[in-house]
Amino acid sequence: MDQVSDFFSGLLSSSLWPARWYCGVWTDFHGWLYILSSFAIWAAYFLIPIIMFYVVVKRKADLPFPHVIGFFIFFILSCGITHLIDAVVFWTPIYRLHALFLFVTAIVSWFAVVYLYKILPYALTFTSPQELERVVEQRTTELEKKNNDLTRLNKEMDNFVYTTSHDLKSPINNIAGLVNILKTEMPRGNVTVDELLDRIDTSSSRAIKAIQNLTGILKVHTEPYDDIEEINIRSLVEEILEENNLFVKENDALIQYRLAQPSVLFSKTALKSILYNLITNAIKYKSKDRKPVIVISSSFVSKQPQVEINVSDNGLGMDLEAYGDKVFGLFKRFHDHIEGSGIGLYSVRKIIETKGGSISVDSKVNQGTTFNLILPQ
């Protein structure tokens, strides 16, 4: 114990041994070879950890085994210091400090050995960048092939739907055409016959409408919507109102604007289709008790950046607790007293999602509904 306490109390003591130059016979060449080499090793062992540390800091997230690198930095540093002291003892024989640093280096080295042994199985399975690249390449080829298959399949599906719709429509169109002719050929005044003909008419036009809806859905899926431009929201809404002038007037609908952001960069066909659906829905599902008022508002969110457009009405509203996300489902309808195909909101969501945006809905039964569109800019 005495030796140990003596060792630490005189850690920097250099008076108990001669400086190395005077210990044995050193020629200048031999001594300086030893000293300069030791200094050079120390300098290199000092710089290596700095470079490694820089790499660790820069690539913290994706570097494998960061702990090993930490150990290694410490290990090299302490190795370097032993070499430094080894050179210094030529003048100042601090052999105790030398021994201490040798001890520290030994401990750190053994920690490194144990740790390396522990991660050995994982390190063996670790893929090299070249191997990774090869895997990525292979996966990419597979994906490309799958993608091509899907595109082809999609095209075939499109063709199938168009062909089927064509083949179904032809005979129904014929029925409609024949009924028209029959009407002109039938003697007038037979109420039963007229009624029957009208019913055939209604049935065939309903069938045609159903088929058109199907191809309409397909169009939503295949239309590229690439006519991206700066759209003035108010002008676009007014264009839609103008085109549906009769419908708007019939329902005595009032449109109000609160456009904090006047324009948006988006596909015009897409936005027109979306706003058309939302506005006509807002009017269609109006409350019987009040005049329909629709508020179109917009705002710019600079953080993302994105433009938010809201279409609010004071209409019937929906019980979202009950329907939830079904609002945007295909062929989902919640008001059976009003004509509808159940594809409007489905198309709206499909279109906006294709263009990287999103839509959400808030609604209260008998108070109104608000649709929120988020359009990335």
Partner: protein, 134 residues
């Protein structure tokens, strides 16, 4: 409604031809209505008219279906365009079809057609066609 001298219907569906013929006659748009059932027959019919010019005059309007056996509407347009590139100045071709495929519509518009009409032919559609004639 304006009268058309002569009309050619190209459609493999006899009922559809029957409906169009009846409508054209009933509305007194044209008394001279011919119908053929595919593109090849249509070309033969036109060649006869164009060359001999005796039986009747070249049809003023052609209603052309797209999907037909033997020779479809596109091939007919292609052939006609090759043999008679100035066809648009002689007669107006309206594609009359049930197809709503954007591919079909795009392809039609690469030829000099006067319009794309979805079936069935009705009085309103016929009126637009007749009024478009100079």
């Amino acid at each position: 409604m304006k009268r058309l001298e002569s009309v050619l219907l190209v459609d493999d569906d006899p009922i559809c031809n029957f409906i169009s013929t009846t409508l054209l006659r009933q509305l007194h748009v044209s008394e001279d209505v011919h119908s053929v059932t595919n593109g090849k027959e249509a070309l033969l019919f036109l060649r006869e008219k164009a060359l001999i010019k005796t039986v009747t005059i070249f049809p003023e309007v052609i209603f052309l279906d797209l999907n037909m056996p033997v020779m479809d509407g596109f091939d007919f347009l292609e052939q006609l365009n090759m043999t008679l590139p100035t066809f648009a100045s002689v007669c107006k071709i309206y594609v009359l079809t049930s197809s709503e495929s954007p591919v079909d519509i795009d392809r039609c518009h690469s030829y000099e057609i006067a319009g794309y009409i979805s079936k069935p032919l009705t009085e309103e559609k016929l009126e637009l066609v007749a009024n478009a004639m100079e």
